[in-house]
Subunit: 277 residues, 3 copies
């Protein structure tokens, strides 16, 4: 809802509050902070639809001068996001794989390269692509529940994290921690994730949103322009690397996902997930 | 003063002790260690004159075979160096900006690339360019007074640290800590700076010089040649990057500092500093 | 000895257990884990013969589909490996220096680039080249005896670690720790090595092999293919750098080792070692 502090006479922008299928977006124009809440049960998996909605929402906020920061979090209990939606990779056409992978890239390019301050309020487990989203923010706060874990666990599923997942990870935790964690496909319980620097802070779950708002206020105290140029200076090399190799990266994904052995293990994995429920 | 341990018959070199306007230099030929004391009150700001004197003094020591190590510290209470002198960036000619920025580059190229062992005895606060000088040494010892802080706080002033400030910072504290600290323009109190690895050691202020001498002795126990080649191997990539982009970096600075908006905010900042006194 | 769990009817491969002069190799085909034990007293120095045997043994295991992981350790009390054999660098022909240095490169290219899981069970001191071998593994466990130390101490001997020693070191401990440790030629006692991240874990010496087996089992729980591709992604840049500059690196070594001053200091060093005994 619009803040009571909103200056009188300010026009109601188109994106003060908009909700699509998968993500609810609320912009508090008085503080300049938007909240993006993932509401795609059961596990906020990153389907083509989810990713498209995410990128469009983020672009809208980016172009809205009233918005300076975004907090991303989940409306689904116990899970932040389960990562890429495996059904998008199973038994689909090459055209579909292409479109899907481009949407994954787009999400990351927009989030890692966002000019806004981005804070992840990680209020549940966050494997694989979910972890990437958190890693791509400026700051990560996690609920201190040791049952919640986070990590790039692709290797556990017999697949390899793309190079730009790895680059993002190395920029956060350094080469050695990334090498070990990626090879083992580790999912780190919150306390361990904090020790490794994968998340910046742990707080009790009920304090998570309050803390996220406080951190955001601290970052927004800085003038935007200098902060944005500084962020670009830190992240440009890694962003440029995907931009330069984007089509090649799509081809790699297609050639990988088209293998019969991979299709088989993805199908088995989906069966297992269904039985678990 | 020459040490009583100086071997008899050793010629008195030309640079045993020389003092210019801004920096006092004393070389103890018996130990091979020079002390450079910043004495440019009120805050040892890095004016064109200060920087020129620093580079010339360092070059003299570098070329003096009796000198193997340098300790840099401040003769002004509570401040190591306040960083670049803002008056050099305000209302001056393009020729002046060019000369000034070249002097900033020169200081860093000589200090970060010095073949001597360099130890910073940080006996006061050290923002921005002052922090860069400390980061460019081989080892940093700071007085454990939590009122003293250190950091690259450019973003706080609405400006962006040059890429080679950033490269030097990343080499010391790693990518993640640098990204966060630079975006927030953080000034870290001594204990936090130590936790982040920005300084190597904290000691009570009265033990600072003693400790600096002990650290220097430890580093000088190594043969110079192998140590110098090792240092070059670690630092060359980052030094070469500025050398390759030096003129471009000057142009960037001029175009930035010539903006009316920047001139205005620098004038306001100077007014504020004057009122503070 | 072959494990009692070995499936009946499995052909006895050529490399279940083979012992050459310098290194004893045992492969437990039931677990897929080979043990390489350095047994070249007094100090497991890396002579041409040792290095050649190491590379050939590793290649055999790499090509044996029954082998998925290797634990390297020492059969000599108190020493893991003392590093490069100085007698190979003293008073020999250019042809010999070339052959020797190529064997050092070969050892590292094979070990750092191995598709198998590699665990170092560091059961003694491990300076210079011995430290490089440990750094090149996927995981390092060290006996918690503070009398055992590890590090790239080349600078202490007046020589410079090659750039690929440095790259491997930086990938493990980060730029700052590497810069300081390499310049000082530090040999870190086990507890300090653990604090710096140079080794991943310390255990009482009598538990070392048990722990190494447990760690290996954890790493082998992952599917090989994804783990191998992930490892390649993390290490390829550094491996490629030596491959691209291999001949240049050999020339550098020859030109260095051919200097009369270096020959002299190596001879003095060997004299000192002889007297110590």
């Amino acid at each position: 809802p619009p803040s009571p502090l909103q200056p009188p006479g300010r026009p109601l922008g188109p994106c003060r509050s908009f909700s699509n299928n998968k993500i609810q977006v609320e912009l508090d124009e008085s503080s300049g902070v938007a909240m993006m809440k993932f509401k795609s049960p059961p596990v906020n998996s990153l389907s083509l639809e989810f990713l498209t909605e995410f990128s469009i929402s983020l672009e809208k906020l980016e172009n809205n001068r009233a918005c300076r920061g975004v907090i991303i979090t989940s409306a689904v209990p116990k899970i932040f996001s389960s990562g890429l939606d495996i059904t998008e990779m199973c038994g689909k056409s090459i055209e579909h794989y292409t479109e899907f992978w481009r949407a994954v890239q787009e999400m990351w390019l927009r989030l890692y390269g966002s000019g806004m301050v981005t804070v992840a309020a990680v209020n549940g487990s966050s494997p694989a692509g979910g972890c990437l989203m958190a890693l791509s923010c400026d700051y990560r706060i996690m609920a201190e529940n040791p049952k919640f874990s986070i990590g790039l666990n692709e290797a556990q599923l017999g697949i390899v994290a793309p190079f730009w997942f790895k680059d993002t990870f190395v920029n956060v935790v350094g080469h050695r921690t990334a090498e070990r964690s990626l090879q083992l496909g580790s999912l780190h319980p919150a306390p361990e994730a904090h020790r490794l620097g994968l998340v910046d802070e742990l707080v009790p779950e009920e304090k998570l949103m309050e803390k996220a708002a406080a951190v955001m206020a601290q970052w927004l105290a800085l003038p935007d322009h200098a902060r944005q140029l500084t962020k670009t200076m830190m992240r440009k090399a890694v962003l440029d690397r995907l931009v330069a190799h984007r089509e090649e990266d799509i081809k790699n994904f297609i050639s990988f996902v088209s293998k019969e052995s991979i299709q088989k293990s993805l199908r088995m994995y989906m069966e297992m997930l269904k039985k678990r429920k």
